[in-house]
Every structure is written in C-alpha cells, then in structure tokens.
C-alpha cells in the first residue's frame, strides 16, 4: 500500500475514536509509543486492521502508513481479516499439546467444518461467528491444556469441554471463563487492550470478577498453609542490623 492510495480512504468510521486516540497518545513521553494501543483501538472498531485503520494510526501519529503497516504485520494479535464475534485460541505448544491440546485444536476445527488457523466459521459481525487459531504458550501451563476465548482463560480443557464451549458460543451464549470476567466479545476486549479498562461497555469493574487464582496455581501456597510453613520472620525494624531506615547497613 502506498501513501497516495491511503489518502483516498474514508476514515469516517474512526471519527468517534479521536478522543480516545488523543488519550492514548497523552499517556506516553513520546507519541509513537501509542502505536500498539492505537492498533488495538482500530481492532475495536473494525475487528481487524484494515488499510483505513493503518491510515488512521498514521494520521494520528504523523508517520507514514508504511511505518504503521510494518508494525501491524509483525504482531500475531493484529489480524488482517475480520475476526468473528469471538476469537478462540487453543494452545498447541509442547506442554499443552502433550496433555491434549493438539486433540482439542483438531476437535475445534472439526466442529467448525474443518476450518483452519485464523479462519472464521460464520460471518464476522454476526452473532455466533467464531475465528480460531492455534496459539503459542499462554502462560498457564500449570492449568494445561488451556484455550482462551477473546483472551479469557478456559483452563484444564478436554475435547468434550472444548466442543461444549464452541457449541455454546455458536448459539450466541457466553460461557463463563474459568478465571476472569464474564465474556464480552473480541472487539470489546480490544478496547481494553487499548488501555480503556473501565468503560461501561467493558463492564466497569470487571477486574473484580473471578478468583484470586485458580486452585491448582495455589497448590504450593495451600500446602505451606497446611503444614505451617512460612518464610523466615522479618526482623522488627528496630532489631535489624541496618536500622529502621536502612542507611547504616546499606551503605
């Protein structure tokens, strides 16, 4: 794409986002740091990064569309085709795969008519449309195998439980993640990723939904509690060799 082409694009779809874009830019010491959140904002509007979205970011930051495209194409989470109502990501990295992740991904594909990585069942923009992908390690290995829907965790999955999630999503239901807030949809989560975490459409204080941690994650903490194991007690400030303000011992 070239600059001349992008000047022909209609950026009207982003008119309602200028205030948010300015708020993103204002967070950083230098404006260009806003580019990743701006691209998330674009996906909030369009469900992917379109040429117009690239032009919008370029205009906001006063850089070229080529510079924006170079960034947008580098990162896995920026999608080139419109994503469905939900994005289902199945971890197929080694640990999850060894515990069933590959089978789960195969079952998800099969359930959706054999579609593949970054393909969509249904029509993006319509309820129940699902885009799927195989994902790299999602940092939840103690809860393997995992999948995420709109980046919310569904831990310790099986082929059957994954099929149930897919069926429910296609019926327009929103099954509850095993950790985290009630499901919304892909586009609303992109608004969160742009840094607007408490807007009404995101459910406000959704941070307070869900447990502190999954019970498995707490295995060590619980064992320590059961057995009365603690870290060594900290000295009282007055007893510490370095004194209450550390100055003596630290210098």
């Amino acid at each position: 794409m070239t600059t001349t082409e992008s000047s022909d694009l209609d950026l009207g779809v982003f008119d309602g986002q200028r205030e948010r874009a300015a708020a993103i830019v204002a967070r950083y010491p230098q404006p260009r740091s806003a580019l990743l959140p701006l691209l998330h904002l674009v996906q909030h509007v369009e469900g992917h990064v379109s040429r117009a979205g690239v032009a919008f970011c370029a205009e906001v930051l006063d850089i070229t569309p080529a510079e924006v495209s170079a960034v947008a194409t580098f990162y896995t989470m920026y999608k080139r085709e419109p994503v469905g109502e939900h994005l289902v990501s199945v971890c197929t990295n080694t640990l999850c795969a060894a515990l069933g992740g590959d089978d789960i991904y195969a079952a998800v594909r099969e359930r959706l008519g054999g579609i593949g990585h970054e393909e969509t069942a249904g029509t993006p923009g319509e309820p129940g449309s699902l885009t799927i992908e195989h994902a790299e390690c999602l940092a939840a290995c103690d809860l393997a195998p995992v999948l995420t829907v709109d980046y919310e965790f569904f831990d310790r999955q099986t082929v059957d439980s994954a099929r149930e999630i897919i069926d429910a999503l296609q019926r327009g239901e929103k099954p509850h993640p095993t950790r985290g807030a009630p499901l919304t949809d892909f586009r609303r989560i992109e608004l969160l990723l742009a840094g607007f975490f408490d807007e009404v459409e995101l459910g406000g204080a959704a941070a307070n939904a869900g447990p502190s941690a999954d019970t498995a994650t707490l295995a060590g903490a619980r064992l320590a509690e059961e057995r009365g194991w603690h870290a060594p007690p900290m000295p009282e400030p007055g007893d510490r060799d370095s004194g209450a303000t550390l100055q003596g011992g630290a210098s």
Binding site: F74, E136, A139, C141, T217, A231, T245, L246
Partner: protein, 453 residues
C-alpha cells in the same frame, strides 16, 4: 554481612511473593495493606536512593526473568549526576541528565513459564509497590509495565491496582509528601515472544516492530527513547518491597550464597499437583515433586526443563540438581524462569523437540539470518524425522545447523531455540535413530527435502 547460623534451615516452602494469594480478593488494595502492603514504601522514601541500590546489591537479588543478572548492579549502571553536579552546555545532553525510565517486562511467554501472570492476577500491588521503590532508587518518574496482550484479566487487575494506588496517593505527584513523582502506564503488547527480549521490548514500547537492538549501548545508558532505562522482570521487582521491609540478611536466610532468596517454581505437566511452589533457591526437583504429590499416576519421569524450553533438557539423572543459577548451569542447563515442565515416559522426545522448534520458527523475529533460516530448516528436518522419513544423517545435519545458530544469532532467541534439540539428542539420541528405522510400511525411501513445499 551477618551469616545465618549454620543450623538454620528455612521451611521447604517460603511464601513471600505468594503469601497473599490464598486471600479472597487478594488483588485489592485493602487486602494488600492488611498484610503489610505499602509499608516498605515509607522505609524506602526515608532512605537515600543510592543506598537502596546498595541494599538490593547486597541482598544478592538476581533477575527472575531468566538471565539471573544481579539486579542491584543493573540499577547501579544508570548514570546519575554526581552530588551537586549541574548540567552545563557541554553536559546537558549527557545520560545522567536525561530522564530515567523503569520498564517492567511482563511479556511472559517462554514455554512453560506461568509465574508472572498469576502474580499479576493475585497480587498486582506487590509489583506496583516494587515499581515505586525501584523508580525512586533509580530516580525515574515514568514506569511502563509491558504485559503480553493475551492475558486480559491480568491486564484488568493491573489497571485496577494502578488506579487504586493513584487514589491512595502512592502514585502521581509528590508521593507521600516526598516531592517524588511517578506515573505508571500499563501497556499491552500484541503477541510476539521476541518482545520478552529487553531491547526488542523497548523497540516495541516505542511503537516499532519488536526486534532486538545491537548491544552496546545497553539500556542502562540508551534504553527507552535512548535514555537510561532499567528493564526488570515482574517477579524481580515484586521481590523488592520484601527486601526493603526485611533487610538483606533476612533475604539471605533463604536460598544459597550466590542465588539467595525465595523463587516461584512453576510445576506443570505429568505431576499430580501442578502449580506454583515458592521455595528457597536451590530446591531440587526431587523435593518439589514430593511436595507436588509425585509423578501423575506413578508413571516415571522421562525428561524436564529447569526453566522453560530455552533451557537444555534434564532427565531423571538430574532430580537432585540444586535449582539455582549455579546449580543448573553446573549440570549443563540454565535456571531460566524456573518453569519446570515435566514429561513422563509416554512422551516422545523428538516430537516434543519438534513442537518447540516450530514455536521458535514462528517466533523468530526475522532480523538475523542464522535464527530466521536456521529455525526454518531445523523445524523442517524434525518434521520429516517425526514423519518417519528421516535418516541417521539428519541428526548430524540438525547438530550442524544448531552450531551455526548458537552464538551466531543476534539475540538469545537463537541460542534458546537450539537448546531442546542439542540436549534432546544428547540424552535421547537413540529415539531419533529409532524414528529412522520405523519407516511405515508402503513408504518408499525417497529422500524428502525438508522445507521443499
């Protein structure tokens, strides 16, 4: 330094970072402060920043993101004006007069690693208190927490905690009446493993492709916006408040001489009770497995990683290796992120190695040829071998390509990528050879050129 008495032994588990995790709503400011949260802040503010750097240095804290670099030393590399030094026409652009930045690497993505995300979900305020103390110590007024984009609930909790900290006066201007100002921004990444590399992370945070920078200059002198920057891992910085509260000698009652302190060991895979186990550094897998209820269904251990897929594999021979920076290295691997992925006898090593190599192939940023091309060919060869179409010579080819990636790549991604291959062949060569023997019936032996498709 006062040594702990010889007879002193800490408990098998020493919850420091994880001590609040069992509380309901442990992520809230209220519960954080109930258990001593933000008390270290005033101790820190009553201390000269340079003395805080020395404290962390003397405590022996080492980076928890994989490399184990001494944290206090990293902070001490930040150029600061000498006492009374004012900028002159000649020095006004010198590093000591530039703004300083703290950047938190929360881009947890090393396969097997799952400690920082639960920490940010369960106790985000410990990270934020650490950010404030660290920023004060290095004299930074802007801190960015770069968190991978795929963990939205951790991001929500971080945003929420940052807001609570602002409202409580722990962030913003003139914090606790000290005249110290600090802003924290929670910055979501967009899915790129390479952004866990600190200079790639900085490029990404500057709104660019996340590709590593040539070093030197190091971030300490030319980091974010070419200004002095400390980049530290989540667990490292979340540990700082406890060092300020407990002192260096308390910290050293846990762990070993060169690797002191508690560490979150992440057990995953074929164990009865996978999860996060916070224990003194130097704890062995045998001890951890015992606490985790042993191998799942009693099926014997075959291989494991001490610290993620980029750390060379261990086997049952290594059950008693002390898992600290020295112990893991002396046994031929690395401590990495203490991501203990545990595999039993049912798992094929060549298959596991292929899956990891496919990961590195996907995540190679493309900047340097050895990593970009090497991982492409390595994945192809391993796929061919796993399809029973390999030959014994493929093992030599794998090792040859590995030797052209290791140490010749632009950053550590390439080095990490070959770890599972070379260690897998070292300990399980026969499994790779067996794959070459087991040609499925009906296949001809025509050589299939890896990657030719």
């Amino acid at each position: 330094m006062t040594e702990a008495p010889e007879s002193y032994r800490p408990a098998p588990l020493t919850p420091v970072l994880t001590r609040r995790w069992l509380l309901p709503e442990s992520w809230t400011l209220r519960h954080y402060t109930e258990l001593g949260g933000y008390e270290a802040l005033d101790t820190a503010f009553a201390t000269d920043p340079a003395d805080l750097v020395t404290l962390v240095k003397d405590a022996g804290l080492r980076g928890r993101g994989g490399a184990g670099f001494p944290t206090g030393m990293k902070w001490s590399f930040i150029p600061q004006p000498k006492p009374g030094e004012e900028p002159t026409e000649a020095t006004k652009d010198a590093p000591q007069f530039k703004p300083k930045y703290l950047v938190i690497n929360a881009d947890e993505g090393e396969p097997g690693t799952c400690k920082d995300v639960p920490l940010m979900m369960a106790d985000p305020h410990s990270l934020i208190e650490g950010c404030i103390i660290t920023s004060y110590a290095i004299r930074a007024n802007f801190c960015a927490i770069y968190v991978r984009g795929e963990v939205v609930h951790a991001i929500r909790r971080l945003h929420w905690a940052v807001r609570e900290a602002y409202e409580a006066g722990h962030l913003g201007t003139d914090i606790h009446g000290t005249g110290f100002d600090l802003d924290i921004v929670v910055h979501a990444g967009a899915g790129a493993y390479i952004c866990g590399e600190e200079t790639a992370l900085l490029d990404s945070l500057e709104g660019r492709r996340g590709q590593p920078r040539l070093k030197p200059p190091f971030p300490a002198t030319a980091g974010l916006y070419a200004a002095p920057t400390v980049v530290n891992n989540v667990e490292t910085i979340a540990t700082v408040p406890s060092i300020v509260a407990g002192g260096k000698d308390w910290f050293r009652t846990m762990g070993r001489e060169k690797s002191p302190g508690p560490k979150i060991y992440s057990l995953s895979g074929h164990v009865e009770n996978p999860g996060q186990y916070e224990a003194p550094l130097g704890t062995t897998l045998r001890q951890l497995l015992e606490m985790a209820g042993g191998m799942k269904d009693g099926v014997p251990l075959k291989f494991w990683t001490p610290g993620g897929s980029s750390t060379p594999l261990f086997t049952a021979e290594h059950l008693d290796v002390p898992l600290d920076f020295e112990g893991a290295a002396e046994a031929g691997s690395m401590l990495g992120t203490t991501a203990l992925m545990i595999f039993n006898e049912t798992v094929s090593v060549p298959w596991a190695v292929m899956k990891w190599t496919e990961f590195y192939e996907h995540e190679s940023c493309g900047k340097c040829t050895p990593c970009r091309e090497g991982n492409y060919w390595l994945a192809g060869i391993l796929q061919r071998m796993n399809a029973h179409q390999g030959t014994p010579e493929d093992i030599d080819t794998l090792l040859d390509v590995c030797s052209n990636v290791l140490g010749r790549s632009f950053c550590a991604l390439g080095d990490g990528a070959v770890s599972p291959i070379t260690s897998g062949i070292k300990y399980f060569r026969q499994e790779f050879l067996d794959l070459c023997q087991e040609q499925p019936a009906g296949t001809d032996n025509a050589r299939v050129l890896a990657g030719a498709h």
